[in-house]
Amino acid sequence: MDTHTFVDDLTDDVCQTLLASHDVGRLAFLGDDGYPIVFPVNYAVDGDDIIVKTDHGEMYEHVPLHRVAFEVDQFDEAKHTGWNLLVRGEARDVTDSHGEIYAMGLRRGPTVWAPGERHHWLAIRIERISGRQIVRSTSQDSNPHEPNGATDE
């Protein structure tokens, strides 16, 4: 069967929908040693912010008040298709003295998969969001503007 793949930019609305409907992303920031640092994290979206909880020293020392990159993706390794989002923005520590999230009413906190306590809440302002998908054009795939990941499994 004749197949070919192409890359399609996702609209802003689709990017926001995908971001809000997933809960694992990768946070990249710069460390002391000249290397970028990247962590998979659980996250939740609160308005214009991505909320992450952490007790990891590298993260709460280097992320607040710095610009970070945040990536979310979903790939099908068998079909070689998938999509990814890239968010850029400045991060800040939004933990208050009670260890609760500052001025947000805790509407949504991220559900953390990893064991251990976390006392720091970080907010990443969604200043720029972009996304792409890799589409295979042969099959009777659904509308390429509605990537499979747009709906939760």
């Binding site: 809960d23 710069l30 040693d33 998979p40 993260m59 990536e71 998938g82 998969w113």
Partner: protein
Amino acid sequence: MAQPMNDPNLDLDSVTDSVDSGTEILNVSDCWALIRSAEVARLAVCVNDQPDIFPINYVVDHGTVVFRSAPGTKLSAATGNAVALEVDGVDSADSATGHVWSVVVKGTAEVLTEILGVFEATGLPLFPWQASPKPMFVRIEPAEITGRRFRRVDPATASENIAARPSGSYE
């Protein structure tokens, strides 16, 4: 400065005490086995003093990671510089009960320019998913590799999480 191998400097977002917290620190050979088991990684780079991150597909070759790129991309701009490659997954069909793992390789990315190196890389089973031309081969020479694995916290026992759980967040 490189951190010692037993320092869990990669993290699914926290934890300093690896053993008591239920997080297993992976040895280097386990890390490589997991990297070889996957196809997609995220490459974190520093471009103009800003962090950036891209998904790539890659292969492991003689203790290095090789991927393809195109001239003029941000990815190619990162070559010659320090990068961090992250690969993760769940070692079970059921992501709600399986072990979650994550491996990070810190190293330097170099574009292969010597003709012999390019010939060798051409023979690698490396097939970019996108059809756009990617004539460059980029090799990451690892300086440090770290990994960890843990069983996903059962939400039924994580009272802290229940209160804050957004509905429908479990995949």
